[in-house]
């Protein structure tokens, strides 16, 4: 049975503990040691049959489809965003600095939005069924890794911007222009997300953790789209707030679904 359960050591540990409990009970009720072992083993059942039943149970590491989509989609998005910047990346000097700044900030925002995508998938799935244990684990791991990537990317992008802007005199470093403020706000929320997902590794409060991702979407909508719209307005052009409003309202609706008790939303199957 040990061979058939390779990679599932926890199961063998659990069965061993059960056998020990059984032996303890049998010896306490007066059975001789060898008789207790024989009786405990016979009560346990046939190892081959037990292993065959376990083979039908999916391993705990089976990933959830939205997680797979997030990784694959994220990789494609990153490649498509970085490709146009490649000539500037290799140009050297300030052009490279600008390209790194733009690339890092965009990838950081995309990483944040990918966490929000996973959160949305979770809340839209919840009325129909709960996630399996393996799916929950891969979801939590993906949220943590993407949030950490967002901190590194957005943080380094902001740092690059601080180096670039004073040089070019095209912006401000810590002059608190709208996009700087937006970026810093998004970075602050990314740090909160990483903290929440790190501390929630063993937690069962998955809904609360996924709400961090929904809030992350709102942060990016306001800090990126909103900040750009405000800056355009400050420079005399009409600011288009419609995409921001739509994005924020959609996330608030999702938060409403998230905060409703799962039982109220449960869709009963026929």
């Amino acid at each position: 049975m040990a061979q058939q359960l390779i990679g599932r050591g926890e199961i063998l540990d659990e069965l061993e503990e059960h056998l020990r409990d059984s032996l303890e009970e049998l010896t306490q009720t007066g059975h001789a040691a060898d008789e207790a072992v024989e009786l405990a083993m016979s009560r346990m059942g046939q190892p081959r049959e037990i292993a065959a039943e376990f083979a039908k149970v999916p391993a705990a590491t089976a990933p959830w489809l939205p997680v797979r989509l997030a990784w694959a989609g994220g990789a494609l998005l990153a490649a498509s965003m970085l490709a146009p910047l490649f000539p500037k990346l290799t140009a050297g000097g300030l052009a490279s600095l600008l390209a790194v700044h733009m690339g890092a900030v965009m990838l950081g925002y995309v990483a944040t939005l990918l966490v929000g995508f996973l959160a949305a998938c979770y809340f839209l799935t919840r009325p129909f069924r709960e996630l399996r244990k393996g799916q929950v684990q891969t979801l939590k791991r993906a949220a943590l890794v993407l949030s950490a990537a967002a901190v590194v990317l957005t943080g380094s992008g902001i740092a690059m911007g601080c180096l670039f802007c004073p040089h070019e005199k095209t912006g401000w470093a810590w002059g608190l222009d709208t996009r700087e403020v937006g970026g810093i706000a998004i970075l602050a929320w990314n740090v909160a997300m990483v903290s929440g997902y790190w501390r929630g590794r063993e937690s069962s409060r998955l809904g609360a953790m996924m709400l961090l991702g929904v809030a992350g979407n709102i942060a990016v909508a306001l800090g990126w789209l909103g900040a750009s719209a405000v800056e355009r307005q400050l420079h005399g052009s009409p600011g288009n707030y419609t995409p921001v409003v739509i994005a924020v309202l959609s996330q608030l609706a999702l938060a409403g679904i998230a905060l409703a008790p799962a039982e109220c939303l449960r869709v009963r199957r026929a």
């Binding site: 503990e17 409990d21 346990m44 037990i50 039943e53 376990f54 709960e130 399996r132």
Partner: protein
Amino acid sequence: MHSGTMKINKDLVAASAIPLILSILEEGESYGYAIIQRVRELSGGEIEWTDGMLYPVLHRLEEQGCIRSRWGVSETGRKRKYYVLESQGRLILKDQQEQWLLVQATLGRLWGAQHA
């Protein structure tokens, strides 16, 4: 899982396993050996499961999100895996209760009428 002194149909034993497990976990957190002992106690020894076959059922219930596990420490200092009922499990248990009570009531009316 098989029956003890009374010959209980194996399909009936299999069908009752999940409502029994979920009902026992509804009483509070428990572990595999204690669940088997509780079933034995409640049935007066008439239902005796094959111990090892309980665990694939527990793992499947956990994989479906009906129960959740954690590794703890027993009274003797050994590590032990405990299980607790989740909200999904409570919904499934409620559903199972309705079905079993309906079957019980229907059979009760039939047998009550037949033996009246």
